[in-house]
Symmetry: C2
Subunit: 225 residues, 2 copies
């Protein structure tokens, strides 16, 4: 089965930007990618905060910058901003993201007294919103279900989870699968087109329910007999 | 972790009805439940077709009946009708289903030249539509991702998949988890409230994409470190 090793490009050669890189998910992904030998630039509105977050990770190969510089410098950009800032951040960075692969891992979910629930998104999903705002970028959905707690935990060597990769461009989804496959224990699995991103994002609300019921940090594996 | 064995009721004592029992999913679930020692009544519009489908399974403990008789006789009813007939069938059977657990496994998905995609459902999901049509029943979502091909294959001893169980009634979700756990290899996992059913149903479109890309019959496991 393809794990991305059929991708033409070695993901280790990429400079990966992480917008929203000071949040737990962004820092966690940056940490694991850097440990796998990928150079990463964390982006934040405040460049000083991004640099502090990068240093705080304590792994070589991660630097910080403003969102603008992050998007400008990176070869491939992961979007890990809070859903509330998603449209605004991406609209502002459309010129810098032009011609690049943009990997959206944002989950439009909210919480109330009964737990987590999926928000309605006019475009269908965060990924489709990104695609609408970034017509000159190639948007791929991935990394929605990896637990930030596990990504950041130095005691966790491997993460028992697949990364479901959705997108309409085969070269891009192959590359993102390969990127996901660099994380120990993780496998990148192609899981459909961008129009099928909404349920991948929303499933995070179910995983929050799993986490609460079973007091864990759940992941998802696609099984194949 | 709870696999349903914390449920008060032994699911083996239930008479399980399967509406849409002549379809592949319904027959497959009936076959595996019967092999696990559960008595099953397949329902169909045409009682003769239901009886023929039951006999065709070649396992003891499965009988056929009209949808009406199936819903009337069964202790717990699995809804495995095509999405197109979902609202009509359930509306007609509301009196017979009153006071019972109704397990909806219907996936509102469609296909076009680009593959499978999730349909919009006014109520949010097939499960929520069922709950709206059956206010005097307890609706639980489950069994969405089990491959009918694998369920029906006599060469397949175990199915490597979890069953994500969603619902608002703890007794009911516990019982359905226990029912799922009777299928060899399968584990019932609580995965949130009924309002989080839509993405579980829609994820089937992604699994169809996985099946096409990797030429397999994919399932889903929830991992917990």
């Amino acid at each position: 089965m393809a794990q991305g090793d059929d991708s033409g490009q070695d993901p280790r050669g990429l400079l990966v930007g992480v917008l929203g890189g000071t949040g737990a998910q962004g820092r966690g992904l940056a940490r694991r990618l850097a440990l796998a030998g990928v150079r990463v630039v964390l982006g934040s509105r405040d460049p000083a905060r991004a640099r502090a977050a990068a240093e705080g990770l304590g792994v070589p190969g991660v630097v910080g910058d403003g969102n603008d510089g992050c998007a400008q410098r990176a070869d491939l950009v992961v979007v890990a901003v809070p859903w509330e800032g998603h449209a605004e951040v991406l609209s502002a960075l459309a010129p810098q993201l032009q011609g690049k692969i943009v990997v959206d891992c944002v989950n439009p979910i909210a919480f109330d007294a009964r737990g987590a629930y999926a928000l309605e998104v006019a475009e269908g999903s965060a990924c489709q919103q990104a695609a609408a705002l970034l017509p000159r970028s190639t948007v791929v959905g991935a990394f929605h279900h990896l637990s930030a707690v596990l990504l950041l935990d130095p005691a966790v060597d491997e993460i028992d989870s697949d990364v479901l990769v959705v997108g309409d461009d085969r070269v891009a989804t192959d590359l993102v699968q390969a990127l996901a496959g660099l994380l120990p224990g993780v496998r990148g699995v192609y899981a459909g087109r961008l129009r099928s991103a909404g349920q991948v994002e929303a499933l995070t609300a179910n995983l929050v329910s799993v986490n609460r019921r079973y007091r864990t940090h759940a992941g998802v594996r696609v099984t194949r007999p």
